[in-house]
Symmetry: C2
Subunit: 238 residues, 2 copies
């Protein structure tokens, strides 16, 4: 019954492992430097930074400000996290470098091989809250073969607002039902499904670390449920 | 002095050979069919179709209508050309198939190898009047490794309007001077240069056929002048 022509991907957590990437980058950044930097728990730092993600976008979604690129929200959140971790004396170059970690996130082990298989049969687009330059830099860094970068910046709205999905489908000249939203987050898929997208849950049970106790399984009747991108490719006949 | 981070490409004529592609597709389409189809001069057909391109966009640029995707302008132009060539009885499926030729255009012989070299060092984006789905389909068909599809649909303005260039640079978070516009058309490069883009003329002297008597050489002081994409890659140190 499904007539899927494009796969649209959530990126942070679904395609890339932001937590491990920030830990690795943070530890490399701090290596050989003393003071408060030597004391940072980078796992806690990553989680604290990410915890400010939804509240920052919510200010945009609520109309308190016009659309702002995620790079800027990440930077505003970084300022707060640096204060919280006693790193208020980092200079501007260090702050810029840390903020660009999001442009250099590492894929999950199955990501690149899975996308290569899926691309043989479907248009592959991002449908992320990341801004275009962030997603483009990440793709070049990690070797992600997107046909198109869509999502919040192109749509002018942050997920889970309906326009983020609907405007993205419209750019591809596709009906929502011709787009399969791929995400590791139940809430993203529920929102996409509500506006008519097909849905695929890909489980990333350690996105937030070994103690993660949410998004461990599909909680709705999604069209596909997969352990990783290779498993999804197999289900889609790729 | 240049600090180029992205190459932005004109597509029709610069990246792909639309004339030869339409001739080949048209001849294959007509093969074995009689009537007026058997009599069509597909070179003349291609040129007639393309001749309606700028006037159609000019209606959008002049504000006579809101922004319309190029696929629709191509289709409106196709109706006129079919009438002109005595093909008014073609059915809807044939018309849709012909209009999609623009999604299946073939690259010039140097295009794919040249882009692969240029991609090692620069972000590669389209900055075309083609709509996103057209450019995405073409890229998948021809193997064009774009990092991002920009241009008219994303910018909301057709070239050579300044916003088409400036909005495209803004999506990449780049200054115009960090973008190198690559085109086979002097007028495109003059418009890009006026808003601060660096410029590269790549000569495609037979885009309109062996008798083409314009755009045979760079007519302004562009930053680069190249015989093809491999020559451009060499000049850019790729």
């Amino acid at each position: 019954m499904l007539n899927i022509k494009a796969l649209t991907f959530d990126v942070f957590g679904t395609v890339v492992d932001w937590r491990s990437s920030i830990i690795a980058e943070g530890e490399a950044f701090a290596a050989g430097r003393g003071g408060a930097l030597a004391e940072v728990d980078w796992n806690a730092f990553a989680l604290a930074w990410r915890a400010r993600y939804q509240p920052a976008m919510e200010r945009v979604r609520a109309g308190e400000t016009g659309f702002v690129k995620l790079d800027l929200l990440h930077r505003q959140n970084l300022e707060e996290v640096l204060d919280e971790f006693g790193l208020a004396d980092l200079d501007e170059a260090d702050r810029q470098n840390l903020n660009l970690i999001w442009h250099r996130l590492q894929p999950w082990p199955d990501t690149v091989a899975g996308l290569a298989r899926l691309k043989q049969r479907f248009i592959l687009a991002t449908l992320s809250n990341g801004n275009v330059r962030l997603i483009v830099d990440m793709a070049r860094h990690a070797g992600l073969p997107w046909d198109m970068v869509l999502g919040a910046e192109i749509a002018g709205h942050y997920k889970p607002q309906p326009q983020s999905y609907l405007n993205s489908a419209a750019v591809l000249d596709l009906e929502p039902s011709e787009c399969l939203m791929v995400a590791a987050h139940n809430s993203d898929l529920v929102a996409a499904g509500t506006v008519g997208f097909a849905t695929a849950f890909v489980c990333r049970p350690t996105e937030y670390g070994p103690d993660q106790d949410f998004d461990q399984a599909a909680e709705n009747d999604f069209d596909f449920v997969a352990d990783d991108f290779l498993h999804l490719a197999a289900q889609l006949g790729c």
